[in-house]
Symmetry: C2
Subunit: 196 residues, 2 copies
Amino acid sequence: MARTQGSHSDITGPRIRAAALRLFAQDGYAAVSMRQIAKDVGVQAGALYNYTPDKQSLLYELLRGHMDDLLTAREAEASKQLEPLAALEGFVRFHIGFHVARPDEVFIAYMELRSLNAENFTQVESLRRRYENELEGILQRGLESGAFSVDDAKIATLAVIAMLTGVNTWYRAGGRLSLAEVETIYWNMVKRAVVA
Amino acid sequence: MARTQGSHSDITGPRIRAAALRLFAQDGYAAVSMRQIAKDVGVQAGALYNYTPDKQSLLYELLRGHMDDLLTAREAEASKQLEPLAALEGFVRFHIGFHVARPDEVFIAYMELRSLNAENFTQVESLRRRYENELEGILQRGLESGAFSVDDAKIATLAVIAMLTGVNTWYRAGGRLSLAEVETIYWNMVKRAVVA
DNA sequence: GTCTATAAAACGATAGAC
DNA sequence: GTCTATCGTTTTATAGAC
C-alpha cells in the first residue's frame, strides 16, 4: 500500500538533525536560518516544525545527545577497573578516538554552549562536568597511590582535556599520522607530564 | 569654544570597538546587531557607520588588532635570546599572562575566525601561524641541542598551545591561585612533557 | 558627527489547504 | 507530513536634516 503523499516521518527527523549539525558547525547557530536547514534537507521551512518545537530545541537535542553518547561510551570503557597508569592511558586514547570521530558534534559542543538558554545550558554543563570528573578521579587515585605527581589535580585535569581536545583542530583522517600514532604521541606527553 | 553639537569623534571610535568586543565575546558575532552595539555606546545605529564601513570590518579590526598586539608583545620578549629551556619557560609564562589579561579578545579570536570573510580570514590566520612558529622554533632548537625530547615538534607545539590557552576557560583574577602560581603549575607540566 | 526615517531583505514561527 | 502563504519582527545599511 502506498504511503500518504509526502510522508517520510521516519527519515526526515534524522535528516533535519544531521543538516542542523553540519550547518551549525560550519556557520554557527545564530548565523544559520531555519530556511537554510529546510533547504539542505529538501523540505519547506514550515515542515521543520513537525519535528522540533523551535530552533533552540534543535540545538539542545544535538548537544544533549552528544554528551549522552560521550558518557555512555566512556562508561563502557571505564567499567574495566584498572590501576591508575593503565586507566589514564585508556582515558587519553578513548578521548582522542571519540572526539576525532565526531568533529562537528565536538565543535558545536564547544562553540554553541552559549547559544543555549539558561535551563538547557545547565543541563549540558552538568554532563560536561561529569565527564571531567572521570579524568579527575583517575588523577586523584594515582596521586594517592604515588603513581602520579602533579601540583594540582583539578588543573591537571583541565590541562590534559584541553590538550587532547586540541587534536580536533588539526587532525584529518588520511593525514601524515595514523590515529594510533597520534594517540601514542599524546599519551607520551601526558604520561611524562603526570607520572611520578 | 564649544565643540559642534554631538561631536565626539576621538572617543566614539574606541568606545564602539570596546562595545563590539564585549558583545561579540558574550553573544557571538552573528547574534549581535549593530543596534545593540549602538545602544551600548549610547548613539543611534546610523552613527556607527561614521567609524566602520560595515559589521564585518568591525570584527576584522578587532581580530587583526589582537594578533598584532600578540606578535608585538612576543617580539619584545623574544628579543632576549636564551637557551631552549629558558626560552620555553619564557614562552609559557608569556602566553598565559598575555592571554589571561585579554579574555574577550582571546575568546573571539578563537570563536569568530569563521565569521570572517575569506580575505580577512587569510590575513588573521597567517598571523596566528607566525605566533605558533615562535614556539615551534624553540622546540626545534631544543631538539637539536638535545635539551628537549618529543616525538613530533609540530604536534608538541599545537598540544602546548592548546593546553596553555585552556587556562582562559577557568582562570579568574582573585581566585584560589595567583597568576604566578598558575604559570608555575603549567610550566612544570610543559617542562616534564618536553624536557629530555 | 549624530540624528530621524526608511528602504530592502531576511528572520522565526504559524495557519490552513491538501 | 508537507506544502504555500503570510504575519510580525528584526536585520544591515543608507539618505538627508541639523
